[in-house]
C-alpha cells in the first residue's frame, strides 16, 4: 500500500497575506501552518475524500497504524516559505 503525491507546487506566501495588514479587516487565522503533513496508514480510516461532515480535525487518527504503507512524493516544488506567518 502506498500514497503518491506527484507534480505539485505548494506555496507558503503569496501576494495575498494570511492576515489583514495595518490592522485593517476582521477575521485572521495566524496558527501553525504546514505545506505537507505526513501521511499515515491506519486501520479503519476515513475515506480519502470527505463525503460527509466529520468532527474536526479530519486527519485525526482513531485506529492502529497499519503494517503496510509507504509514501512517495515525486517532483513537488515548495515555493516562498517563511518561518513565520505574515
Amino acid at each position: 500500500m502506498s500514497v503518491e503525491l506527484n507534480d505539485n507546487k505548494i506555496y507558503g506566501e503569496s501576494p495575498a497575506p494570511d492576515c489583514p495588514q495595518a490592522r485593517q479587516g476582521g477575521y485572521c487565522y495566524r496558527g501553525t501552518k504546514c505545506g505537507l503533513m505526513s501521511s499515515i496508514f491506519i486501520r479503519g480510516a476515513k475515506p480519502l475524500h470527505p463525503t460527509m461532515a466529520s468532527p474536526k480535525p479530519y486527519h485525526k487518527s482513531k485506529s492502529y497504524g497499519m503494517w503496510g504503507g509507504e509514501a512517495y512524493l515525486n517532483r513537488n516544488e515548495y515555493i516562498n516559505w517563511r518561518a513565520k506567518t505574515v
Partner: protein
C-alpha cells in the same frame, strides 16, 4: 509558524517512511523547512500509551533524493539527505547527522537509514506487551537505545477504554549492510513474530539479534518455507555465524538463546 513539512499531530503509532524524489525548494527560509514534533507527553496515560508516549513521531524517516535547490535558497542540504526526529535514543549516535534546533530534527547524509517494522503474531498481541523495546547497534559502548512503545489504545467500549495495545513496532535504524543490531525486549518475546525493513535505498540490510529467556525450537520462515540454520561449525561448537549473504540467513546460539537473522528490504521474515 509555517513549515514545508510537519507530522500529523495525532499519528501516535506509525508514520510511514516518506520517499521524496526530485523535490525542489524555492525561496524557503531555513526555519521553514520542517518542524518535527516530539511524541506528546499527554499520550502517557493509562487510556492511551500507558507509561510513556507512543513513539511514532520519534521514528519518522523523510528521505530525499535528486533534490534541487533554487538559486535564491539560503540553505542547501544537497541532492541526497534525510530528515529524522530528535530521538534521544538514536539521533545523537548517528554519524553524519546534525541537529537543526529550529526544526526540532536532525539532517543526515547517510546511505542506509531505514525503518525496521516488527510485530507479534501471537493470540495475545493486543493484550500483552513486551515494551519498552530498545534498538541498538551490537557492541556499542554508547547509551544508544531507540526506545519503542506499543501502539495507542484507540478503542472505547461504551464508557470504558478497551485497554488493548497492538504490539507492532516501527523503529528507525541505520541499516548498513552487515551491521548488527540488538532488539532488547523488556518482556518475554512473542512466540510468533514478523519482521520487515523499509528504506529508500533498497540495498539497506541488517542482522538482528533477539535474546530469549529460555530454550525452545524456533525457525525463520520466508515465503512460507523454513530457512534452516547455518551449517554447524565444529571449531566454534555452534551454528556458523550469519554472514549477511541472503535475507533469512540465520542461526540460533544455544545456551545463550540468541536468535540471529539477516533482514533486507526484499523480504518479510517470520519467526
Amino acid at each position: 509558524m509555517q513549515t514545508v513539512l510537519c507530522l500529523n499531530p495525532t499519528a501516535s503509532d506509525y508514520i510511514a517512511p516518506h520517499n521524496f524524489f526530485d523535490t525542489k525548494f524555492n525561496n524557503v527560509d531555513p526555519g521553514a523547512m520542517a518542524y518535527i514534533m516530539d511524541p506528546k507527553p499527554g499520550w502517557a496515560n493509562p487510556k492511551d500509551c500507558v507509561e510513556f508516549p507512543c513513539t511514532a513521531p520519534y521514528n519518522i524517516l523523510f528521505s530525499f533524493k535528486g533534490t534541487q535547490w533554487a538559486s535564491n535558497q539560503k540553505f542547501n542540504y544537497g541532492s541526497e539527505f534525510q530528515v529524522i526526529a530528535d530521538n534521544p535514543g538514536i539521533s545523537p549516535y548517528l554519524d553524519n547527522c546534525k541537529k537543526e534546533e529550529n526544526m526540532n530534527a536532525w539532517i543526515c547524509h547517510k546511505k542506509h537509514l531505514a525503518v525496521l517494522m516488527f510485530e507479534s503474531n501471537d493470540a495475545d498481541k493486543e493484550d500483552r506487551t513486551f515494551s519498552p523495546i530498545y534498538l541498538s547497534i551490537n557492541g556499542t559502548t554508547t547509551k544508544m537505545g531507540n526506545k519503542l512503545n506499543s501502539m495507542m489504545d484507540h478503542m472505547w467500549d461504551g464508557f470504558y477504554t478497551g485497554q488493548i495495545h497492538l504490539t507492532r513496532f516501527p523503529g528507525l535504524v541505520d541499516a548498513v549492510p552487515k551491521s548488527v543490531w540488538n532488539i532488547t525486549m523488556t518482556g518475554t518475546p512473542p512466540n510468533k513474530m514478523t519482521f520487515k525493513l523499509m528504506a529508500q535505498n533498497k540495498a539497506s540490510a541488517l542482522q538482528l539479534r533477539l535474546a530469549y529467556p529460555s530454550a525452545q525450537s524456533r525457525n525463520i520462515v520466508k515465503d512460507g518455507k523454513i530457512i534452516e540454520f547455518n551449517q554447524w561449525d565444529e571449531k566454534l561448537h555452534m551454528y556458523g555465524p550469519v554472514k549477511g549473504e541472503f535475507c533469512g540467513e540465520n542461526r540460533y546460539i544455544g545456551v545463550k538463546n540468541i536468535f540471529e537473522f539477516y533482514l533486507t528490504t526484499e523480504c518479510e521474515l517470520k519467526i
